[in-house]
């Protein structure tokens, strides 16, 4: 009776029965990876946006914050900004509703963070026979759950302006309701055709369906099958993230914004929420329309195109897949930033007009046509 036999018995036991402790560890590791990555990306975006806009505008951009003489291309401004936000005076107007005023930034941040739990950020990994999927909550209805949670965030913007006791904030919250609720409808309508085509209301189902190829060599991505849906969803995502050209809710030079009375970390909650929303929508766009973690022609057996096939190690494949969704997310985040610094702001009524007069009919039409084709073929 040697120790080795006991050890191998134990391993056998854990692998076969997958006790709860393994499941817990796996979940915590996944939470750590995903939220670590998202938070880091959102943090880097705060300074990345300033750097990219500087690049577009013929400026230098932030480059002064340093630690021990190293400026790291201005990356330490993330830390400097954070410290500044914490040190600022935490101001609350006298006639504000204390509880809701405090809750507003939390409400606009937490549901958005919760949505990430449904997002598959990789396929699966097999470590010594133990298989783990890169998804924190695996639900059959994850698409609808995502929209359910992300639409809760509108309450944050709405409550912030409404409870601050400031008329400009009030105008901001009216704008927030009108704008964001209209575009939520369009957003869901634009995604329905995608669900129909891949016949799955779960994100992992949609992604794995995009791994196939049309006529052998064109990846079956959403952008190719549903370009119209992509345009509408992208527009709606821009609106939902409350950024230029749809930043009327903030409308800095017009109504100063729904968070006009929020300062210090309360304001930082809104600002950081905006960047997290960018990451979220970039991830969703890459999942719905660009194959999520799919790398073109890469499957379990390696790269296959026609008769040619190159085998790929499992761990390399996992890394490639994780890289695939990361690169797509970063690219779309950058596009969000480029658009913000290129276009002027819409007027409030033009946004609603664009929604109800153009995007809504187009997306309904798209839905009907797609339904017809899915049924017919």
């Amino acid at each position: 009776m040697s120790l080795d036999i006991i050890k191998s018995d134990l391993i056998q036991y854990f692998i076969i029965y997958k006790p709860q402790i393994f499941y817990l560890i796996e979940t915590f590791v996944k939470i750590g990876i995903l939220y670590g990555a998202v938070m880091t990306l959102a943090g880097v975006l705060t300074v990345g946006e300033r750097k990219l806009s500087a690049l577009m505008q013929d400026r230098v951009g932030p480059n002064r914050a340093y630690i021990l003489g190293f400026t790291l291309w201005g990356l330490f401004h993330v830390v400097a900004d954070g410290i500044k936000m914490i040190m600022k005076e935490d101001f609350m107007p006298k006639n504000a509703n204390k509880i809701l005023f405090t809750l507003a930034p939390i409400i606009s941040l937490v549901p958005i963070l919760f949505v990430f739990a449904f997002i598959p950020f990789g396929n699966y990994i097999n470590i010594f026979g133990y298989t783990a999927r890169f998804e924190i909550i695996d639900s059959n209805l994850s698409v609808f759950l995502i929209f359910a949670f992300s639409s809760l965030a509108v309450y944050g913007a709405f409550l912030a302006g409404f409870t601050s006791g400031n008329n400009w904030g009030l105008l901001g919250s009216i704008r927030a309701q009108a704008q964001m609720i209209s575009y939520e409808v369009v957003m869901v309508l634009s995604i329905l055709p995608v669900i129909m085509i891949y016949s799955s209301p779960s994100l992992s189902g949609i992604i794995s369906a995009q791994g196939e190829n049309i006529s052998g060599f064109v990846p079956k991505w959403g952008i190719i099958l549903q370009p119209l849906s992509f345009l509408i969803f992208f527009t709606a995502a821009l609106v939902e993230s409350k950024r230029a050209p749809f930043d009327v809710v903030e409308g800095e030079s017009e109504i100063i914004g729904y968070f006009v009375e929020h300062s210090s970390m309360r304001f930082a909650g809104f600002m950081f929420g905006e960047y997290i929303e960018i990451v979220l929508f970039s991830m969703l766009i890459s999942i719905f329309f660009f194959g999520g973690w799919q790398v073109p022609y890469l499957s379990d057996s390696g790269f296959t195109l026609g008769n040619i096939s190159i085998p790929v190690n499992h761990y390399i494949k996992v890394i490639l897949e994780l890289l695939s969704i990361s690169v797509k997310t970063v690219v779309f985040s950058c596009i969000f930033i480029f658009i913000r610094w290129t276009l002027p702001r819409f007027r409030y009524d033009h946004i609603t007009k664009l929604c109800w007069k153009y995007l809504m009919p187009i997306s309904v039409l798209n839905l009907v046509v797609t339904a017809f084709f899915v049924r017919a073929f």
Binding site: S164, L170, S253, T342, L343, D349
Partner: protein, 398 residues
């Protein structure tokens, strides 16, 4: 508590909003009391006076050359034009005829100022409408022109360049070359901006049909400058009563129809081009010669005269301590400022100091008509209109 208050205010249908003076779009100095229904402006009252510095009263206690630096602060985006207007009014009262070179320098500097003013106006307007990138392009262009003015006068924003009867210094030898290069670069910045703004659907929708005024109203309110030209009237002081050497240049007065913000934007864009044309022609024609009148009662004598002759020394002393003296009388003289007709009305009692100075700032009538321009529009339109009328606090409130 506040929730109930706000709801009752909304159910009343109308909300009274205080826009400014510390509001990002009000440039820090104007307060508009708005009555809004939802986002639509029902009524508005414009309140000015937050930047009143007593310019006119200060002038009464200074001699004529001492007033010139004050005029820089009137329209602080186009300081040279203010100086030209003032010194020319005084010169006309004294009957001084300038040498050719001085006239050309004044034209060049005025047009540089007109360009900086229009660039700033369009840039700030675009920025307030959310287009940040054109703002930086145009501000870069403006900076080049500021450097050009700096090279001649030694001051970027407040040059204090002209004197009664002349110019403080001659142009530096590399001024012409630098300005020509700067104009080329300004052109490339402008074409970048054009691509971003001119046919941009969002920008067009924001400006088109907002802040509209009819031809008759514009005339009766006393609009001048780009605002009167945007309703189709080609009134321009440079053409209607040419001063300096403006009649020697080939340039057009751009007009547009519509009387809305987009027409104003187009007029300003084209005026930048026309100013560039004038500067290029003036730089070609620029004659050599003296930059000051040869009259010791007006302009300081040369240094060798001061040290070498009793007349030179005593004129230097008198001019430094008392300044030039005007005959008794009154005068109104107007130049085409960047925003319109910039007039100086000076009453003299025959001493070295004016008895009364009154400035006709081009943006005063326009700001008076502001409620008419913004009533009935959206709150967001106020930003577009306010940016395009280019109200400058310094000259509005003096």
């Amino acid at each position: 508590m506040s929730l109930e208050n706000n709801i009752t205010k909304l159910e009343d249908g109308r909300l009274v909003l205080n826009m400014g003076p510390s509001h990002p779009a009000m440039h820090g100095i104007v307060r508009i009391i708005l009555t809004v229904e939802g986002e639509r402006v029902v009524n508005s009252e414009v309140e000015i006076g937050y930047l009143h510095r007593g310019f006119e009263k200060t002038c009464e206690n200074s001699n004529y050359n001492q007033i010139i630096p004050y005029t820089d602060r009137l329209n602080y985006v186009s300081p040279f034009i203010n100086e030209v207007g003032f010194v020319m009014a005084v010169e006309k009262m004294m009957g001084v005829e300038l040498p050719e070179r001085a006239k050309y320098i004044r034209v060049i500097m005025s047009e540089i100022s007109r360009m900086t003013d229009h660039l700033t106006c369009i840039a700030a307007n675009a920025m307030e409408l959310g287009a940040f990138t054109p703002y930086f392009y145009l501000i870069n262009a403006r900076e080049l022109l500021y450097q050009s003015g700096d090279m001649a006068s030694g001051g970027r924003v407040t040059p204090n360049y002209f004197r009664i009867g002349g110019t403080s210094f001659d142009l530096t030898p590399d001024f012409i070359e630098f300005t020509k290069n700067a104009l080329k670069k300004v052109d490339s910045y402008l074409s970048d901006t054009r691509k971003l703004l001119e046919r941009n659907r969002i920008f067009y929708d924001r400006l088109k049909d907002t802040g509209k005024i009819t031809r008759e109203d514009a005339v009766s309110y006393g609009f001048t400058g780009p605002l009167i030209r945007s309703v189709g009237i080609d009134y321009d002081v440079r053409k209607y009563s040419p001063y300096l050497v403006y009649d020697r240049f080939d340039f057009e007065i751009p007009v547009a129809d519509g009387g809305d913000n987009y027409a104003r934007f187009l007029v300003r864009m084209e005026e930048i081009n026309q100013s560039r044309k004038i500067i290029e022609q003036a730089l070609l024609q620029l004659p050599d010669g003296p930059i000051d009148v040869d009259d010791y009662s007006v302009r300081l004598p040369q240094k060798d005269e001061v040290y070498g002759s009793i007349e030179g020394l005593i004129s230097h002393f008198k001019l430094t301590f008392e300044g030039p003296k005007t005959p008794k009388g009154e005068i109104y003289f107007a130049v085409e400022g960047a925003n319109g007709e910039l007039g100086y009305y000076i009453v003299s009692d025959g001493t070295h100091k004016p008895w009364r100075v009154k400035v006709r700032p081009p943006c005063f009538p326009v700001t008076g008509a502001l409620p008419r321009l913004i009533n009935g529009g959206y709150i967001a339109d106020i930003v577009a209109t306010f940016g395009q009328i280019n109200m400058i606090g310094g000259e509005l409130e003096r």
